[in-house]
Subunit: 610 residues, 2 copies
């Protein structure tokens, strides 16, 4: 389903971009940091985004004749928001009349601030017998560059607001909706909240839409936790108890509502001044938060309710901001490649970059995307809970006391512990480090078995005493707490096996994507490790255990919480949301379940690279 | 604002119609009873409404290239729903592939059944690992001639419905919305309710959308009555008590809900099978029913909240049918020319008929429209309560015991009483008759004064004893109850004055509209008397008191409850609703308040015609 790509060159800037056929010229420019004048946000109403097509054909849209004379049309002038690229084009962008108010760097990205929330201060003439325009029309006529639609709720109070304010009001327009009409001039205040609704952690960022700056950030554990640590246990809860779905929905609402209160308090913002929210999360989190039956997600053939949700409001998520504030929700590519991954792809620019890049969000369900602006494939790899400590004997969450990094130099073992505390357990990144170092020094062989004691004693006299038994299982003690190994923080043979399964699943995923694209590991220019876990992974260790392809270390980048970054980018720019929609259309989902070649590849990947 | 009219001729039928520039060819045909194939209802998705433009230019729409080859396009083939008339046209309509399922005669009108509620029975392939389409996409892909959008609420249960029914379902599409997906084949059952929400009486008609036939009708008094008999007293109630608006809204909801229960019970229809409702009513009734502050309606300059309400649902009116059923609400032309009048104009075809016609909805607030397919003007005449009995000494509502007709032949006075009962009072039509007959026989002079007793005794020896005094006021006794005139049913001098004011207000209204159109009374081909009062008026009496122009009596037609008819027409045909929108654009509102010529004309109209 990869769409045909066209070449667009913008002059005088000289930037050349490749976009799918059918892309609006305005979007192509916007996504690539080329600013074109616009006040309506690309709805064809402000008629300011004038460009000239110097080479290539662009059809005259239905709005163009209202913006240009016949001579100008013949001369190639078009409104960029309505000009869809159907061929290679050269486009002249006139100098800006107004500089874009602010710009923000995302994950190595330049984002032009184009909030869908706009305000217009209006001082209206009062009605007379000669001017009996309806209250609504009086407001709409005064907003000459936008054509928003009101809601029934707004009309309930519009008449009273106009009259109590002496017809001096501010119109709040969000996208194509006249969201509110407020007394007086409130244009200086407009805010949005970007939510990253994770299975474990939920983050809210309050942004000032005038400056594009974050004013407050807050995070907390998802209150759905008591129903299970991962998505499968939470879906199971809904299947066992018909009332659980509603409870899970309420817990998500409570979580988002509490964070909303926190960020608004911290920034001194009235929640009613938050006119829109954006939400990213995996498909299960979205369906649970909105009360959509998640059962079909949990079993083959893993079917989502919809890839693109119908218009939702913040109130649908239980978020009490402006009562009619819309919620932008990222679309999802598949049951286990959800809106969080689309947000991540948006934030990393995976579908726009010419370099072949590998994106891995490491977790219980790991999501993998591979490709470039030519073509991107994505798949989900069920990695199991190794990375999230649940199945690891001494596994703990990444919090104070967790061993997060392990180094073996000669006979010296050193640990890095969160909070510089006494170690109480090992978190996911520590696990990967420990295994990688043990493979590196030879105490673990390439099949993942601890080497025999005698061999170990010969090779590593300083470390071999750590290699011992607890019950019938061989373990490697990372940190002694008394003499009994069972009291220590250790790595067991079974823990190593868990990690092998997890990393093999992920590696099989990107191997299959490479195969589908006809590429070799060496063709990958960059690996992006994402998600709360991936971001703490040591690139060298990830390479050593074979979780990622063997590339030069600087090419392996920990990208941070790219889902949250994507949510913020979407909050700041309505045009970037169009790119999110494009990602849904362009990224091809590859289902790993039931694939004939999966098992063979998986077994190959179980061992550690030589 | 009268739009430029174009001439469209349809062949082989030969019908020629005149429509405003910009009208869709499909609509022009539909409004004039010319059927063109279509299953999508004109949304450009079914691609069945193929016509050929034989003469005149019609631009190629964005959908046309998907329906026709380049050769066909060059040959003039277009989709009628996307072909907008910008010049005089001759259009060839191919023979129908499917006959329109039913047609219904409105008020002398032919209505092609084109419900916006459509059902499609779908037997879907079950998902597999090779076919992981989302639940929604699976449904949408199977509906090949429509492209509806779902709601969040539908998605909540879609997965469970598909799986519990074995993927054998019926999609319910209303307009552009996928309203529901029901288990099994329910295509035979789809219903709608047309509501006429009057200030006094509320009527509900349940219609079968498969046959177009009404299955049940029910009416009751508006439960807002305790807040006042007319719109002004109800608006005043909201101004005196901040809680009254919500109470009035609830009373309207209760009224509509009770009627809904009655018609569904009578017809054996599950309310959940009612997928849409239509509502007409005056502006005050609509604003009160939807909780929109009505205060600006009640005082100059009489400003409506909006002429065209945003999309509403049956639930917004408190109507418990399908929980997501949309409500079509007629637009309003002015504060006192509301959706009921637009519905009446639709039902009478005032804006499409070549004849000049005068439409009068007689009531406390009388609405007047005058014109033809060339141009229509409308105004509101504050007639006062004379027609609704409130200010008339012996005035009663038109119910058992009310004198509804009066005849004077020679010295004989005869009464027609509702329910053949003992007269207890006089209702509006009886009042008009009584005054008309008394003017006719000379007991009232043309200035509206009872003639002196001596003159009366000489002229009407058989009637003169009825002309007597109650206190200081002269009265004419219509029905004796004992010897005391004060106990009788009578007509007082003040009652005559009330009627004079009312009829002068209405007559001034149509005089001003005639003047604005440059027409004389003789140019009027037909007078349509509408509304619950107008329909009972004796045409001869209406002429005699000067309420309507002096025309041959067969030209004065009582049109019945045209508002209710309009609501039914809109319920049966989504295309007719486009005409309602056209009426809003085309009918020009003339404000009588504050007009310099109003008072002069009003005084001229106070006396009775010679």
């Amino acid at each position: 389903m990869s769409a045909h790509r066209l070449r667009l060159r913008f002059v005088p800037d000289g930037t050349e971009v490749r976009v799918p056929s059918g892309t609006a010229v305005f979007d192509a420019a916007s996504w690539n940091g080329i600013a074109i004048d616009s006040t309506c946000g690309g709805y064809g109403t402000c008629k300011k985004c004038k460009v000239r097509v110097l080479s290539g054909e662009v059809a005259v849209s239905d709005v163009d004749p209202r913006a240009f004379s016949a001579a100008e049309l013949a001369d190639g002038w078009r409104l960029a928001c309505r000009a869809t690229a159907g061929a290679d084009l050269v486009i002249e962008v006139p100098p800006l009349q107004t500089r874009p108010k602010a710009a923000l760097a995302g994950v190595g990205r330049h984002v032009i601030l184009r909030p869908s929330v706009q305000k217009r201060h209006l001082v209206l003439p009062e009605p007379t017998l000669e001017d009996q325009r309806s209250d609504l029309q009086r407001v709409l006529d005064a907003i000459d560059d936008l054509e928003p639609e009101p809601s029934l709720e707004l009309l309930r109070t519009l008449g009273a607001t106009l009259r109590s304010s002496g017809f001096d009001v501010t119109a709040v327009v969000v996208g194509e909706e006249l969201l509110d009409v407020e007394p007086g001039d409130t244009t200086a205040r407009r805010f949005t909240i970007a939510f990253d609704l994770g299975t474990t952690t939920v983050v809210a960022t309050l942004l000032d839409l005038d400056s594009g700056q974050p004013l407050a950030v807050s995070s907390m554990l998802n209150r759905q936790q008591p129903f299970g640590a991962d998505v499968i246990t939470r879906i199971s809860a809904t299947m066992l108890d018909p009332g659980a779905l509603e409870l899970l929905r309420l817990r998500a609402s409570e979580t988002l509502a509490e964070l909303t209160g926190e960020v608004c308090d911290e920034a001194g913002v009235d929640p009613a001044e938050v006119y829109e929210v954006t939400v990213c999360g995996n498909v299960t989190m979205m369906q649970l938060a909105l009360g959509i039956d998640p059962e079909p997600l949990s079993m083959a053939p893993f079917v989502v309710s919809t890839h693109r949700l119908p218009p939702a409001r913040a109130s649908d998520f239980g978020v009490e901001v402006h009562p009619r504030a819309p919620a932008f929700v990222f679309p999802s590519i598949g049951a286990y490649v959800g809106g969080d991954i689309v947000a991540g792809i948006l934030a990393t620019g995976l579908t726009r970059d010419r370099r072949v890049r590998l994106f891995i969000d490491v977790g219980t369900n790991s999501e993998i995307a591979l490709g470039s602006s030519e073509r991107v494939l994505a798949c989900a790899a069920p990695a199991g809970p190794a990375f999230e400590a649940a199945q690891i004997r001494c596994g703990v969450r990444a919090a104070d006391g967790a061993i997060e990094a392990v180094r073996i130099a000669g006979e010296e073992l050193s640990l890095q512990v969160i909070g510089d505390a006494e170690p109480i357990g090992i978190c996911g990144s520590g696990l990967v480090d420990a295994v990688a170092e043990l493979v590196g020094c030879g105490l673990l062989d390439h099949s993942g078995r601890f080497i025999p004691d005698d061999v170990a004693a010969a090779a590593h006299p300083g470390l071999c005493e750590r290699l011992t038994m607890i019950g019938k299982e061989r373990v490697f003690v990372l940190h002694w707490r008394g003499e009994d190994p069972a009291e220590s923080v250790f790595l067991s043979q079974r823990d190593v096996r868990e990690l092998q399964f997890a990393k093999a699943s992920i590696a099989t995923g990107w191997q299959i994507l490479l195969r589908e694209l006809g590429l070799e590991p060496g063709d990958i220019a960059q690996v992006l490790l994402a998600g709360s876990f991936g971001s703490f992974l040591t690139p060298a260790s990830a390479v050593r255990i074979g979780l990622v392809p063997k590339l030069a270390l600087p090419r392996i980048v920990t990208a941070g919480n790219v889902a949250g970054e994507g949510a913020k980018i979407a909050a700041l720019s309505a045009r970037e949301r169009a790119e999110a929609a494009a990602i849904l259309r362009e990224v091809e989902y590859v289902e790993l379940s039931g694939r004939a070649d999966f098992n063979d590849l998986f077994i190959d990947q179980l061992s550690f690279p030589g």
